[in-house]
């Protein structure tokens, strides 16, 4: 299949006229027509003839100067506004919403000549870890369609895994890119806070939200990152920090020190996942990386701190959905979204704000100090993404606390703002994908991507596809 090829290989093939963008689009649509009714990965699929026209134009305008993303099909999590195209955040409240402007990340990809195929299903407003908290039907895991793909960016991970696109843009607030990447056997990057503009990204928790690339490999994520990163005058929190040529920077071999936090590899994490991470560490050690066992007790407070700050911020961000300027009424929020709004409202309310919200912001400072200390002796950290394997549909959405605890290993990075890359590291004894995350200091995406790239030179897990 053409869409099995990496972004680098797709470019080579397009440059050498071995195939065309039109053929890539035809293949993507064929996969969508065959599999979207089963997997429910996409809420909106663009009109095929219009997309083919864009592909023909891409083929006609291709030069040696066009972007590496020129002519490649991609999907966006349906939390990004796309002018003239339905944007729902997977909620009934926005089911009729036609966005009047473009998110910066979308505009950048259009400017690069990439081709939007559709908008991906997700947990509404980013609220979830399974892509079941959606008003458009749950997304199914292509490795076992009785199971969840993870969330909240489930639709994108599935679309990549079954070749509905060459890459995708997801969003990570507490693990929402990394979680489905791990459970669907794809790669996904939670960037440094401020690395990529959030303008036009429907906000969940404004001080945690990140816009990030998802793809088949770390290298693909690096190539997309190069195009989407950078300061944006429309996003005051976007960083002036220099954008590197990530695609080439990650190929430089470097003997990094990789920390293994012991609290992320013990009780509470499935034994096969722990073994997978340790095996990966051993592989890196044979290649000249130094593996260092460290202790980070703060890691066990991730969910408790996250579930005070994120709901507080979402209760504020979702106040705008009052059915006046756009959208349906507030009675249309799902139960899980109502819970998160209410947890946040409670945490901010008179008599409780100091104990919950303000105290959580102090704990946030402790997280920052804990990671700072870890990065004094380590270049990057390696840890599992998920504490268990993809559950059956219905399990998590029925149990709010279990649902929250799914995020145990991915909720300390966002409050601190540090980047983390999820990559495949193997399969469970029942054939379910497992992922590890490579965590780094702020603005060191090239370090974590280089480790992911190296893991993918040493292993073949990321090349496996589901049987569908």
């Amino acid at each position: 299949m053409l869409l099995d090829l990496s972004i680098h290989e797709l470019n080579k093939g397009l440059d050498e006229k071995k195939f065309s963008s039109v053929e890539l689009i035809e293949e993507a649509f064929s996969r969508i027509e065959q599999l979207n009714p089963v997997l429910n990965a996409l809420i909106t699929v663009r009109e095929k003839e219009q997309v083919l026209q864009e592909a023909r134009r891409a083929d006609a305008t291709r030069t040696e100067k066009t972007s590496v993303l020129h002519g490649l099909p991609f999907v966006l999590k349906d939390s990004y506004v796309t002018q003239g195209i339905q944007t729902t955040a997977a909620s009934t409240i926005l089911k009729d919403f036609i966005a009047p402007y473009n998110a910066t990340v979308y505009q950048k990809l259009l400017n690069a000549g990439a081709i939007l195929i559709g908008k991906a299903n997700m947990d509404a407003w980013g609220h979830g870890a399974s892509s079941e908290n959606t008003d458009f039907g749950p997304v199914k895991n292509p490795w076992d369609t009785t199971r969840v793909p993870g969330g909240s960016t489930g639709g994108c991970a599935v679309a990549i895994a079954v070749r509905m696109c060459a890459f995708a843009i997801g969003e990570d607030t507490g693990g929402s890119i990394r979680n489905p990447s791990a459970w669907c056997n794809t790669s996904g990057l939670k960037v440094t806070y401020g690395r990529v503009s959030r303008y036009g990204c429907i906000a969940y928790a404004s001080s945690f939200d990140t816009v990030g690339p998802m793809g088949k490999t770390a290298e693909d994520c690096a190539m997309v990152l190069e195009v989407i990163a950078g300061k944006d005058p429309y996003d005051a929190t976007s960083s002036p920090h220099a954008v590197l040529a990530y695609g080439s920077a990650i190929q430089k071999p470097r003997p990094l020190v990789v920390g293994l936090p012991h609290e992320a590899l013990g009780e509470g994490v499935d034994a096969e996942i722990v073994k997978g991470v340790k095996t990966t560490a051993a592989l890196l050690e044979r290649e000249g990386y130094t593996i260092k066992e460290i202790s980070m007790p703060m890691l066990s407070y991730g969910v408790a701190v996250y579930y005070q700050i994120a709901p507080s911020e979402t209760s504020s961000n979702l106040a705008r959905y009052d059915g006046v300027r756009y959208g349906q009424g507030r009675d249309q929020f799902t139960d899980e979204t109502k819970r998160r709004i209410m947890i946040g409202t409670y945490a901010l309310s008179t008599g409780y704000a100091d104990k919950f919200y303000h105290n959580a912001l102090k704990a946030r400072t402790l997280f920052i100090e804990a990671y700072k200390k870890a990065f004094e002796s380590c270049d990057v950290l390696l840890m599992p993404v998920m504490p268990f394997h993809a559950p059956k549909l219905g399990e998590l959405i029925a149990d709010p606390l279990k649902n929250a605890l799914t995020d145990a290993l991915t909720t300390t990075q966002n409050p601190v703002g540090i980047p983390s890359l999820a990559v495949p590291i193997g399969f469970s004894s029942s054939g379910l994908p497992m992922g590890a995350q490579v965590v780094g200091p702020m603005f060191f995406e090239e370090k974590i991507l280089s480790v992911g790239y190296r893991i993918q030179q040493l292993t073949e897990f990321h090349k496996k596809k589901p049987a569908l």
Partner: protein, 100 residues
């Protein structure tokens, strides 16, 4: 002993402008309590001498010139396009003042 009662839930729902039925209040209360109780785990941490962190950019006072950028302006039609109810070029809003 639960921290959140149905009375609390109803109060929070009113603060959050969420219209909840009696049945929803009954169902949501123990669910909210279970998650909120879990989060009180943070009281185990010593935060006495610790400063709050509200955001992690390290940036301050990001300004722009006070100039109109017409390329970013909506026309009146564009601004009204997604509203459920409009009236002669205005948004229709729920009544704020009571009629005499």
């Amino acid at each position: 002993m639960s921290a959140i009662s149905t009375k609390t839930t109803a109060h929070i729902a009113s603060l959050a402008n969420l219209p909840l039925s009696e049945k929803e209040i009954q169902t949501l209360t123990p669910q909210l309590d279970s998650v909120v109780s879990y989060t009180t785990k943070t009281s185990q941490l010593n935060t006495d001498a610790v400063e709050e962190t509200a955001q992690v950019t390290g940036l301050e006072n990001i300004f722009r010139e006070d100039e109109v950028d017409t390329s970013r302006m909506f026309s009146q039609e564009e601004a009204l396009a997604n509203a459920r109810q409009t009236h002669k070029g205005f948004f229709v809003v729920p009544a704020v003042l009571e009629e005499r």
